[in-house]
Symmetry: C2
Subunit: 198 residues, 2 copies
């Protein structure tokens, strides 16, 4: 693409988006060029609106448009169960399962000592404060099922257990709909260790 | 994704872009949420700037930021050779070859009688006016090498030839770097018909 500097600029900006290469950026630019002004401006305004209105929930550090996120503000949620996740992006998939009706706490990452991410870099102090000030019966440690996530969960479990709060972690096992044949041995091992009676 | 309406809105807008599904839209939304305000606003502003500044070149109907596009405005281009293309998006690939130093004419589509696109729906009258009013020695018909493009080229050739203007069309043949084995028979047939002596 050449000729128009404003077109080149938009092309560069689209290319900065994750997963967008030169070809897709070009297709997006042509979409913007060919669509009516109102549609294009809806995209531009949605971007600036997100940056203007979205902040972190004061209680759980999920994305929010008010002091509290919609989950923390909802009277329907069970405040006595807190699910701890690494990032706000981990919340929507859990919400979609519709099996969890507690509230969340977003750590803002996972322990990774090699990268300089220790307990002070995560919102652990804030979690402990929540546990001290409210009546919590269970903490579900839903950090990722990888080394950093497991380390973080183990660290938090040690910290929370003395408070006489039940600490759980989502089960590891075979993905539903998957083939046993193709399961990696660690997952399969976990699935056997955690076998349940029928 | 749920909880914040402004996040849902941006998700919907990203999903409208060509080639963007729910997963990529989500990744783009997280990019906007996590990036600094200035970067996000650069994208929003690039979109509105394109809609504010880009229009069609008065002469060739390429995208332009002034009355004339940069190609028509350039003193270095040979005004006696006009390359006819279907859409503005066909110009950048031709420019990248760096073998064409003439000017362009964008038809705004190709003849497709079944879809109600006849000569009056394309910028053919405008092309004929250019040919009548300036000294043009050659018209290169670079419409697409498919049925609509060939039909359009044949139609234009019949219209232009009586004006005593050379009418050409880019060669059909084997793509450079391709395998002869995998060439379709039409392309291979064209390549043989158009064989050149070495």
């Amino acid at each position: 693409m050449q000729s128009a500097p404003s077109i080149q600029k938009l092309l560069d900006e689209f290319e900065r988006l994750p997963g967008v290469g030169p070809k897709s950026a070009q297709r997006m630019v042509y979409y913007v060029l060919n669509t009516d002004r109102a549609s294009a401006m809806r995209l531009a305004e949605a971007i600036s609106e997100v940056k203007d209105t979205v902040r972190f929930c004061e209680r759980c550090f999920n994305y929010a448009e008010a002091d509290l996120c919609e989950i923390c503000a909802s009277p329907k949620r069970d405040r006595s169960v807190i699910c701890v996740v690494s990032e706000p992006r981990d919340i929507p998939p859990i919400e979609r399962t519709a099996v969890f009706d507690g509230v969340y706490h977003v750590l803002g990452g996972e322990l990774a000592p090699m990268e300089g991410i220790g307990p002070d870099e995560l919102r652990i102090a804030e979690l402990m404060k929540r546990l001290a000030s409210s009546d919590v019966s269970e903490v579900v440690l839903a950090t990722n099922p990888n080394i950093e996530g497991e380390t973080t969960a183990a660290y938090l479990a040690r910290l929370i257990k003395p408070l006489d709060v039940k600490v759980t972690r989502p089960a590891s096992g075979l993905p539903v709909g998957g083939d046993l044949e193709f399961a990696d041995e660690v997952t399969l091992g976990r699935a056997f260790e955690g076998r349940v009676s029928l």
